[in-house]
Each structure stands twice: as structure tokens, then as C-alpha cells.
Symmetry: C2
Subunit: 316 residues, 2 copies
């Protein structure tokens, strides 16, 4: 597991390469919920998501010897662009395995960051096989999107900054998918401010984290559809080991609630957030946690999405 | 005309009631244009637009006697919500004449601010007639959306803040419609930093400001369509008198360029801006001004728009 010293070391390590993102507040949203809300804007982070933190920490904490073949990962999302970028900054090759059905914008994003793209068939077996082949051929270091302590430590640095800019928080909420952000956040908050409670927010239709913690058995990747594409992933082993012990609970949000919270955030805060990013506010607006009078920190995880068609238009 | 002392007085007067908005930068956009760009984010302003500044200055610089009947204006845009809000803060009635065809979201926004709405037929004569009737019945003070020195002074305070946060600017650009923001900006910049050049950005399809300055004769409200709905207004008299003397030029942007710059800003900066707000960046991306190596301040005027349907979807 990770200590506060590990998190602080990660923070110092990645500071030259990432944004210290701002914390936004809104009297309108505060009035609606009867609480003080503090939004940590990782949508303004490099590559548009918190993933820049973990990937950068993993790459910059590896030794030259570990990196002699560069790095490799399989991802069609924000981790892909984040790892490609971190590899470029470190001056080593970044091999990114991407399924052939990934959105073109994601592929372009990886390419822009200088990633070397290997396409594979869109299924888990093909992804892992392609990844293993790249490792065998190049000796590249695998950087998993979330089940990696260095990645988790990097993701936890957002909460460290949030607690500095918004002191005395009573509650911190982040979205949970594979659990990298959630685990880093939980470890950071419980180390720095043990009295604060930490909650994960998850779609009702992909509630594997809630069921994993309720049953004590890690549940597989959810198969149900959710608009929150960034969290269509089951909890990693490392995440599960931490969260089952330290997390205060999981808040579920409905699909309609996620879409409404996303649009509301756009309209009120005038910032772009992706659907997964709306989970915490969606759960609060659906009354899943009593926050009246409390100071609540929310990690806005990212702002990458396809602007051709918006979720409320799909629904309409 | 206004002195720097007037602008500074306006700034002090409205400071308790408005946001000091942040200035954003982007290495991606800087690299694209070969310049350093500083975006003054008035989309994060109260009511979502710079209009909060001018309306607040007008209401708070009026005497109790002037305000005994409250204030009145005709507008279906951001000035309506801004004036309703300022009146509420000052504790006087805010009468807002709105055409019956105004978008519901705009009407709701005025209502939320506590404005007293008077509907009128959607034409200039009906608007002015309704406004005059309210004035006659209530003795309310008319606060024009732009052709008013107190409003102009308020709008100029955004540039004062921008020049503090982004010193040594070579160029400042803002959108121009009726000219309140443009005139306040020009007076502020030419007072504080006379070496900086100031440009207005305007749609090619509603280029009355460019033609007014070129011909020396104030041109009427443009009749052509533009997606930039916030600037479908001819220059006011006061604006014309200042801009013909002090403005360095007008940069025109195509409709396609406005839409592309708007979307690009959303994607790169992860913030919502309305179409009019994209005019300066659109003109720069279309090469209308040589800015290579320069420090360029851009006033992002506002972020209020209908999210049901986006301009690039209309065009598609």
C-alpha cells in the first residue's frame, strides 16, 4: 500500500509536467444542495483528464533500465494519451495498443502526443495478446491504467492539492471505474484529514464497485450500458484491497441523473465535463448522501468527449 | 468621454458584486498561432457574461432619487439578466421588456434574477413603446444595453483586470456589437497601456462596425444572419464616437471560422463560450492580424447558449 510520503513524492515528481488545476465554486450549486461544494478541475489537466498524473508518475518513477524498451499499455481512453505524453516527455517510446473500434478522436489524441499505435481487434483477449507481443518484442514496461501503485499514487495527488485549496473538507467524492483515482484519493484524504469521509460515485447500471464492497468479493467488469464510458471497468485488485478497508461508501447515480448533472455543470460552471465526471454531482442531486451544511470536495475527473452528439441529445 | 479615473471608480464600485474572473492560457493555442494568448474568462462572470459589469455599474452609480421607480431596459439577451440582477442587489425593481419570441432560457434567466418581465411584440417599435410606457408609469430609469457611459465604464473594467493579470500586452481584441464592451476595453487599454493596439472582431456577415469606421458614417443595425447572435446590433453613438478615434481596426471572421473557433475553444480550453465570444480567436485563426511573437489579450465575452443544439450541428 502507499504512504503519505509516497503520495508527496509523486506530487513533487510530476509537478513540473502537469497543471496545478484550479478549484471552482458556485453559489448557485451551493444553494441548490445546501452545502459548500469545491470542484477540483481535472478537466483542465494536461490531456484533459486526471490520467496525466498517474501515467506521468509511473513513467518518471521508473529507472532508465526499466524504460530501455519504452512503455506499453492497452487503452482506448485518457490513459492512452496520458502515457504517450509521459513517454514523450521522458524521451522513450510509448507503445499504445488500441482497439480498431476506438473513436477517431481518441486515436488522434494519442498520435498528437507522439504515441506509437498498435491496433488490435476489439476484445480483451486480442488486447492482452497484442500488449504481450509488444512487450516481448521491445522489452517495454507495462503501465496498467489503474492496477499499479505508481499510477494510483499519481492520481492521489489531485486530492492533495484539493485539500490545500479547500481546507477542512467534511466529504470528498470521486467517480470510480477501475479504481485508480478513487484509491489514490482515498489514501490521500485518509492520510491528510482522517476525519473526512470519502465516497465513490458509480452508475446504477454499472455498480460493480458497490457490489464488490457489499459482498466482499471483487465483481467482474460490468456488462450493462452506461453513458459514463470512463467507468465501464471493474475494480482492480489493488483498488479493491484499499477501498474495502478505507472507503466510506459508494453512491449510485441513475443514467438520467448523470446526463442532467453533466448538462447542469456545463450550464452553471460553464466548463466541459465528460459523462463519468458528472457522477458525484449526480449522486448528490439524487439525494444519495446528506451533505446539508457540509464542505464537500468533488474531483472533476475529465473533459474529453465527442462534441458531435451530446448525451441529452441521444436521450431526446 | 470617460477617463481612467471613471474606469477605476467603476471597478471599485462593482467589485463587491461581480467575479474577478480568471485569465486562461493554452500552450496548444499558443503553438498554433505562434503568439502568447491570454483569455479573460467573462464566461465565468455572474450571469455568464461581461454584461454584469456594465449593468451593475449603471445601477450602483445612480442616485436613490434616480432609482425611485427602479430601472428598465429592453433586451432579450445577457443585459436583461444583468440588469435584473443589479436591481435586485440594489433593492429596486428591475423592469425588463422582452420580445415574445425570446428563447425561454433567456426569460427564465431574467425571472431567476428577480426581474419584472413585460412582454412585447418582437419588433423595435413595440419594444421602445413598451419601454416608454413603463418609464411613464413607474418613473423607472432607462439603462440602455450599450449606449450609456456608465455601462461602457463597467464593461471596461474587464480589460483593467486583464492587463493586471497579463502585463505587457501588445494587442487586445474583443467582439463588437453595440460597442459597449469594445468601447470600455479601448478606453481602458489606451489609458493604461497606450502602446498596445486594440482591435474589434466582427462577423463578415454583420460588418457594420467595419463599414462605419471605414466610411466615417455610423451604419445601421446589420440585417444579415450571423451565428454570433450577441453582436447582431449596430454600433451605438457613444461607441462610434470613441472607436472612430481610438480603435486600431476591425477584424472580420467568417461564419465557418466562428463556429470552428468556438468548438476549438471548447475542445482545447474545456470551457463553454457562446458564438459571439469566439470572434477574436476566429479572426486570428483566419490570419486577419499578424500576431506572431506577440502577447495578445482576448476578452471571452460570455458563455450563455442553448445546449439543445450546437452551431456545428446546425451546419452539419
Amino acid at each position: 500500500m502507499l504512504s503519505l510520503a509516497d503520495l508527496n513524492a509523486a506530487r513533487a515528481r510530476i509537478a513540473p509536467h502537469i497543471h496545478r488545476t484550479p478549484v471552482m465554486t458556485s453559489r448557485t450549486l451551493d444553494a441548490e444542495l445546501g452545502a459548500r461544494l469545491f470542484f477540483k478541475c481535472e478537466n483542465f489537466q494536461k490531456i484533459g483528464a486526471f490520467k496525466a498524473r498517474g501515467a506521468t508518475n509511473a513513467v518518471f518513477s521508473a529507472t532508465d533500465k526499466e524504460l530501455r524498451g519504452g512503455v506499453v499499455t492497452h487503452s482506448s481512453g485518457n490513459h492512452a494519451a496520458a502515457l504517450a505524453r509521459a513517454a514523450r516527455l521522458r524521451g522513450v517510446p510509448g507503445h499504445i495498443v488500441i482497439p480498431t473500434n476506438a473513436p477517431r478522436s481518441k486515436v488522434e489524441s494519442v498520435r498528437r502526443q507522439g504515441g506509437e499505435i498498435i491496433f488490435c481487434e476489439p476484445n480483451v483477449a486480442a488486447r492482452e495478446e497484442a500488449c504481450a507481443r509488444v512487450q516481448a518484442e521491445t522489452g517495454a514496461l507495462l503501465v496498467h491504467p489503474y492496477d499499479d501503485w505508481r499510477v494510483i499514487a499519481g492520481q492521489g495527488t489531485a486530492a492533495l492539492e484539493l485539500m490545500e485549496d479547500a481546507p477542512d473538507l467534511d466529504v470528498v467524492i470521486a467517480p470510480v471505474g477501475g479504481g485508480g483515482l478513487m484509491t489514490g484519493t482515498t489514501l490521500a484524504v485518509k492520510s491528510v484529514r482522517p476525519s473526512a469521509r470519502v465516497f465513490a460515485a458509480e452508475p446504477e447500471q454499472a455498480d460493480d464497485a458497490a457490489r464488490s464492497l457489499a459482498t466482499g468479493v471483487r465483481q467482474p467488469t460490468p456488462t450493462g450500458f452506461t453513458i459514463a464510458d470512463g467507468v465501464r471497468t471493474g475494480l482492480g485488485e489493488k483498488a479493491f484491497s484499499v477501498l474495502r478497508e478505507k472507503l466510506d461508501g459508494v453512491l449510485l447515480a441513475s443514467e438520467a441523473g448523470i446526463i442532467a448533472a453533466m448538462r447542469h455543470t456545463w450550464e452553471i460552471l460553464k466548463i466541459l465535463i465528460e459523462p463519468s465526471c458528472a457522477l458525484p454531482l449526480a449522486a448528490l442531486r439524487e439525494g444519495k448522501l446528506a451533505v446539508r451544511g457540509l464542505r464537500v470536495g468533488i474531483i472533476l475527473s475529465g473533459g474529453n468527449l465527442d462534441l458531435d452528439r451530446l448525451p441529452w441529445q441521444e436521450a431526446g
